[in-house]
């Protein structure tokens, strides 16, 4: 057990902090959330700056402690979120790095790291949500291409993506998990239609992607044909692991903001609310420690967080909803019912946390069966 950092790590932190203090004021104004081209330019521009300063690949191939420091410091400094680079840096990139050929790595990774390419995720389908392996988007081999027809949903940043990490069914006869392949699909290929998907939290962040005989070269397949399920599991374990580090830091900052707002507006006089905030303090402190634990454990296991990520994800998604429920209490009626209030908007978004990237019900199955070894069942 050790919470201290090595001198090298502390040095890394100091230099990063210094760089952030210089780099952040030079950033252009943040674009409007509805300005897609603006967001693309902004997010890629930030990644380019990180790359030029030597921080471009911290998200996936740095030693765990450095990655943690990077995520902590960028969040503390109020640096831009990973934004449109999310899938490239945290899903597709690490997957290609782990499973791709040398050619594939050389082709796709540098543009991601240099802030030149946006990736999106084409996994979920209308009838394949929790049951991802039920996906039906078909890829039929035709010479050196796959010809792909189907529909994907919950694809974020599809409007501005260059590439899509796409799961397709290449063998409809095989058992569900054995006939799937993982492809990199260029988003400018003919036959792709993107339609924004509006959520209960308001403006479209996600899209549906319709695929009508889209041709993707066989060379764009990562991993063996029909072996996409295994490749996918690599990606998903990243999603459930360290993807939330910055968010936990942000939640702890929000919690402090709630306390100060409550004291300013008088709600602090309510001990029920106060004690609730105190408990959330314990909760988010522990979640932060659990992330550190997972990062340490992941480092040993080779970088990919395991089922322990499900433990974190379950508790965190619950805690995040409780945080914004508490925010509604702090704000009182006129704030909690005002959709323009930042915390109220965040409360709406938080509702997706127990659903997206594996519902809480699915996560509990994973924990019970894979960690606790309980018998499989319904």
């Amino acid at each position: 057990m050790d919470l201290t950092y090595t001198p090298e790590e502390e040095d890394f932190r100091a230099r990063l902090r210094e760089w952030l203090a210089k780099a952040l004021p030079e950033l252009p104004a943040r674009p409007d959330p509805l300005d897609w081209p603006g967001r693309r330019a902004y997010d890629l521009g930030w990644q380019r700056r990180l790359y030029d300063a030597g921080y471009g690949s911290l998200h996936w191939d740095a030693p765990p402690a450095l990655r943690l420091i990077f995520l902590e410091e960028t969040e503390l400094a109020g640096a831009p979120y990973v934004g449109a680079n999310f899938v490239g840096l945290l899903h597709a990139g690490p997957t290609i790095a782990a499973e791709g050929t040398d050619e594939q790595r050389a082709r796709w990774l540098p543009p991601i790291l240099r802030g030149e390419a946006v990736w999106c995720q084409g996994f979920s389908e209308p009838d394949a949500g929790s049951d991802l392996a039920a996906l039906r988007t078909r890829a039929v081999r035709d010479g050196d291409d796959y010809v792909i027809t189907g529909q994907k949903t919950w694809t974020s940043h599809a409007e501005i993506a260059d590439w899509c990490e796409l799961l397709v069914r290449t063998d409809p006869e095989a058992p569900r998990h054995r006939g799937i392949s993982w492809l990199a699909m260029p988003m400018d290929a003919p036959g792709i239609t993107v339609r924004p998907l509006r959520t209960l939290a308001g403006p479209a962040e996600f899209a549906e992607v319709f695929l009508d005989e889209v041709r993707v070269p066989v060379a764009n397949r990562v991993g063996a044909e029909h072996d996409g399920w295994r490749v996918t599991m690599v990606t998903l374990s990243f999603e459930r692991g360290t993807a939330f580090v910055g968010e936990v830091v942000a939640c702890r900052r929000t919690l402090g903001g709630l306390a100060r707002t409550a004291r300013a507006n008088g709600r602090w006089d309510d001990p029920v609310l106060r004690r609730r905030l105190g408990r959330l303090n314990a909760e988010f402190t522990a979640l932060w420690r659990l992330i550190q634990w997972n990062v340490g454990a992941g480092g040993e296991a080779g970088g990919a967080p395991g089922a322990g990520g499900s433990v974190f994800k379950l508790r965190y998604s619950q805690a995040r909803q409780e945080l914004y429920d508490a925010a509604a209490e702090v704000l009182g009626a006129s704030g909690a019912l005002d959709a323009d209030q930042e915390w109220t908007a965040a409360r709406l978004s938080s509702l997706s946390y127990t659903i997206a990237a594996g519902t809480s019900q699915i996560q509990r199955n994973i924990i019970a069966e894979r960690i606790l070894g309980l018998p499989k069942g319904r």
Binding site: T153, T199, A333, S334, L337
Partner: protein, 352 residues
């Protein structure tokens, strides 16, 4: 002694459900999401159907029914997510001319201690009634003398109360009198404004405690209807949606979520119906607490059962959740309600 609705009451409830299905079905609901301006024709139709005049004496053109009947009708309005100042229209039907028939749309705003000061559908109301707490320091109006002429008072906040303390607790306002703060309502079906101040120029003699009690009960009935509807939606979805080769309703995790939803409805319904029979303050407060919990938690569980689909704007789940959050803030709820229920335990030493 039978808490269940009588045959007549069931018929009343069914006719309300039929009217709403006919006049405010899913297409109308989704149209209202895009344009929440009140449908005045529907409002008059509700008036004609006796929605507002339900409890007025037949001699005055009312239907002559009681609070239990009103609760059943409001439960249906909650199920259908019917928007508009329904509680105001019903409670002020005997007070404001034109309210009973639905000709005039009247708003009702609680500005007493802890009142949310929120005004539903401010653009659609022809007039507005403010209710305050009795006694000094309890209200935040401009005071009866704070403004003159026919414009709204200019005060921008809560000054010391200059009233005698035994004056009226309700004030009539024209829609352009109060000073409002803008608010983008979380519920797309219910535009809101926050009342910052208002003139106390036109006092009205109203039984404010009774008004509050009945508003609390009818709001609880709306919550109950929403809670009952979200169970149905969850069960329908769970019985249809397939994942892993079976309908998801076959999974215990889904099944047990739905079972807990039903329990919340049954508990809330017992409380709401019983409170409508006694009309007493404490049962009404208890019913609101339980109906609030049922509406909010059922909407969230319904969302969870729906998975990603439930998170879309196109699904109706979020409309139930947002309305439930809104009603949670209306009338008696939260800390004040629980404190009152606790206090009653001490007072109630003799009875059980």
């Amino acid at each position: 002694m039978d808490l269940r609705p009588t045959a007549d009451q069931r018929a009343l409830q069914t006719s309300a459900r039929d009217l709403l299905a006919r006049r405010f079905g899913r297409d109308r609901l989704r149209a209202a999401v895009d344009d929440p301006a009140l449908d005045r024709a529907l409002w008059r139709e509700l008036g004609a159907a006796g929605f507002f005049a339900l409890r007025l004496p037949e001699a005055d053109g009312g239907v002559g029914l009681g609070l239990p009947d009103a609760v059943l009708v409001f439960e249906e309005a909650g199920r259908a997510l019917l928007p508009g100042p329904l509680v105001a229209g019903h409670l002020l039907a005997g007070v404001v001319p034109g309210a009973a028939t639905g000709e005039r749309v009247v708003g009702l705003c609680d500005v007493g201690t802890g009142g949310a000061r929120l005004w539903e559908h401010p653009e659609d109301c022809d007039e507005l009634i403010m209710v305050e707490d009795a006694g000094p320091d309890a209200s935040c109006g401009d005071g009866p003398d704070a403004s003159s002429g026919d414009g709204p008072g200019a005060s921008s906040g809560c000054g010391p109360d200059t009233s005698s303390g035994d004056g009226p607790d309700a004030y009539w306002n024209a829609p352009d009198w109060p000073t409002l703060a803008p608010l983008r309502s979380i519920d797309p079906l219910t535009p809101l404004a926050r009342v910052v101040s208002y003139p106390r120029r036109a006092p009205r003699a109203l039984d404010v405690p009774r008004l509050r009690r009945e508003a609390t009960l009818l709001t609880a009935a709306l919550q109950l209807g929403s809670a009952a509807r979200t169970v149905e939606m969850a069960v329908e979805h769970a019985g249809r949606r397939e994942q892993f080769g079976v309908r998801i309703g076959a999974f215990q995790a889904v099944k047990h979520l739905c079972a807990e939803m039903l329990i919340r409805v049954d508990i809330a319904r017992s409380a709401v119906y019983a409170a409508s029979l006694t009309g007493q303050s404490l049962p009404v407060i208890g019913a609101k607490v339980l109906a609030d919990e049922a509406a909010v938690r059922n909407a969230r569980d319904c969302l969870q059962v729906h998975g990603g689909m439930g998170f879309t704007w196109e699904a109706d789940v979020h409309l139930h959740l947002k309305r439930a959050w809104l009603r949670l803030e209306q009338w008696q709820s939260g800390a004040k309600a629980e404190e009152a229920l606790a206090e009653a335990l001490l007072a109630d030493a003799a009875a059980v």
